[in-house]
Amino acid sequence: MLKIENLHVSYGNIEALHGISLEVQEGEMVALLGANGAGKSTTLMSIMRLPPPEAPRVTSGSITCRGVDLLPVAPHLVVAKYGIGLVPEGRRVFGNLTVFENLKLATYARKDMEQVARDYERVFALFPRLADRKDQRVETLSGGEQQMLATGRAFMCGAKFILLDEPSMGLAPLLMQELFKVLKEVNRSGTTIFVVEQNANIALKYAHRAYLMEAGYIVREGAAKDMANKDEMKKAYLG
């Protein structure tokens, strides 16, 4: 579904990714692990084609979705046309809008109104708390609720492929488990998931496969079960 080959990416003159390659198959749940500053968010922002200065610039290599080159695609079309949704680092929900407005905004480019109606139901079923707080301004939600909203928003975009950047950040262990259960459930019902995590424990518990990044390189990849058992992984990333 998504294929990245030998991708070099820079912020200004500083290279952040030094030729990474990875692949996510349709229907998979894949984790991207690594320490602070390894380049995980940079990878996701490159896929979304967000423009500089906030996002990095691809200097060489390729990103394709179902064989189509994504590099020349505008960010809103990555979402609207290729069905790739990002739950960004730090959630980035619109605090000045209500919960419902945030969700509705995500349907901006969609024309399939019956499916939109079903997606609302699905989001409110997955996250009942959002339904209770439908008309509340998002600034006043708790961090966990904002994370649910950010995830729900990606579903409302109609994304068949969802990228998540550290969804467990700032969540209590119980809520973290709950969120990953939801992701797993969504994945089982056909959505492809690519999740960036520092919490390798939880990511490896739910993902099929994983990549490990260090300082702008992919240093290891494999089935989640095998990765969890590697000694160096245990030492560095698992409790």
Binding site: R92, N96, E139
Partner: protein, 310 residues
């Protein structure tokens, strides 16, 4: 002050407030979306008035090239409004394209964009001066002043049209910004511009839409203004533009209700100060009042301090 002249002043204040509000809207919409103070906006009002002048005189058959038939004045007035709003929206969008978008793309600082806006305004003023000369133009009379008198208070039809237009515009814009998806997108951009494309929303389309709204409302104000006070000159947008900007800030810039309340507040202060003091004191005292007001409530009437983002 007797009761008749009091109501006279109230109506007058509403009319001036409507002009300020219609222009203040453009400042507030663009600021609300881009956090940019579009200092060229007062001159967009001027450009609107001039475009209105040429459209109206063309429709009246003043030029060698003209329509093969005559239109009633009321039809010409409505057509002038509509055509002028469309053409002026084009000017606003062009301004955004050539002046602001390139800077935005390069991630230029806000100071540079504001200075660009100031320069764009000066270019519009002086471009007009160079092209059309310094002589004033008189806007043709399309609506004949009809004076109605109700209970001793007299008012003209144009005054009523101005006030009703402002109210209609207010309801229209509130609905757009509150209820439609593009309105939500406008509000979302001001909060977090980077996250907006992640919702599948083309940012540039939303920004262009914002400039279309602001510029066409300035054009509406421009044509109505010269219908009431039919003199056109290149600098006519400068002072009224500044005043409308101040009105937008006093109302709480970024908020549509604020533009209206601020506009009407300024209209009322001006008219009632002029009713009490000599007319040369008008602007001094009005701005003094607004200054005191802002020092008491620096965010404006509807403004909220921008929440710190984490």
């Amino acid at each position: 002050m007797d009761i008749q002249s009091f109501f006279q002043d109230v109506l007058n204040a509403f009319q001036w407030g409507s002009f300020y509000a219609l222009i203040a809207l453009g400042y507030t919409l663009v600021y609300g979306v881009l956090l940019l103070i579009n200092f060229a906006h007062g001159d967009i009002f001027m450009v609107g008035a001039y475009i209105g002048f040429f459209v109206a005189t063309f429709l009246l058959g003043t030029y060698a090239v003209h329509l093969p038939f005559h239109l009633p004045h009321l039809v010409i007035f409505v057509l002038t409004l509509v055509i002028t709003m469309i053409l002026t929206a084009g000017v606003g969008v062009t301004l955004e394209r050539v002046a602001y978008r390139p800077l935005r793309r390069k991630g230029a600082g806000r100071l540079y964009i504001v200075i660009t806006a100031l320069m764009a305004g000066l270019i519009l003023e002086n471009g007009n001066l160079a092209l059309l000369g310094a002589s004033r133009k008189a806007f043709p009379t399309l609506i004949h002043d009809t004076v109605y008198t109700v209970a001793g208070v007299s008012f003209t039809n144009i005054r009523i049209v101005v006030i009703l237009a402002a109210l209609a515009v207010f309801l229209f814009l509130e609905t757009i910004v509150r209820k439609t998806k593009i309105g939500m997108a406008m509000r979302a951009i001001s909060f977090d511009r980077v996250a907006v494309p992640l919702m599948g929303i083309p940012i540039d389309t939303v920004i262009v839409f914002t400039f279309i709204l602001g510029s066409s409302m300035a054009a509406l104000a421009g044509v109505l203004f010269v219908s009431a006070y039919p003199v056109l000159e290149p600098y006519m947008g400068a002072m009224i533009g500044w005043k409308a900007f101040i009105a937008a800030v006093v109302g709480g810039i970024g908020d549509i209700r604020g533009a209206f309340i601020g506009g009407f507040l300024l209209g009322f202060i001006e008219i009632f100060v002029a009713a009490v003091f000599p007319s040369t004191f008008r602007d001094l005292i009005s701005f003094g009042i607004l200054l005191i007001f802002l020092s008491l409530k620096p965010t404006g009437i509807f403004g909220v301090a921008r929440a710190q983002k984490i």
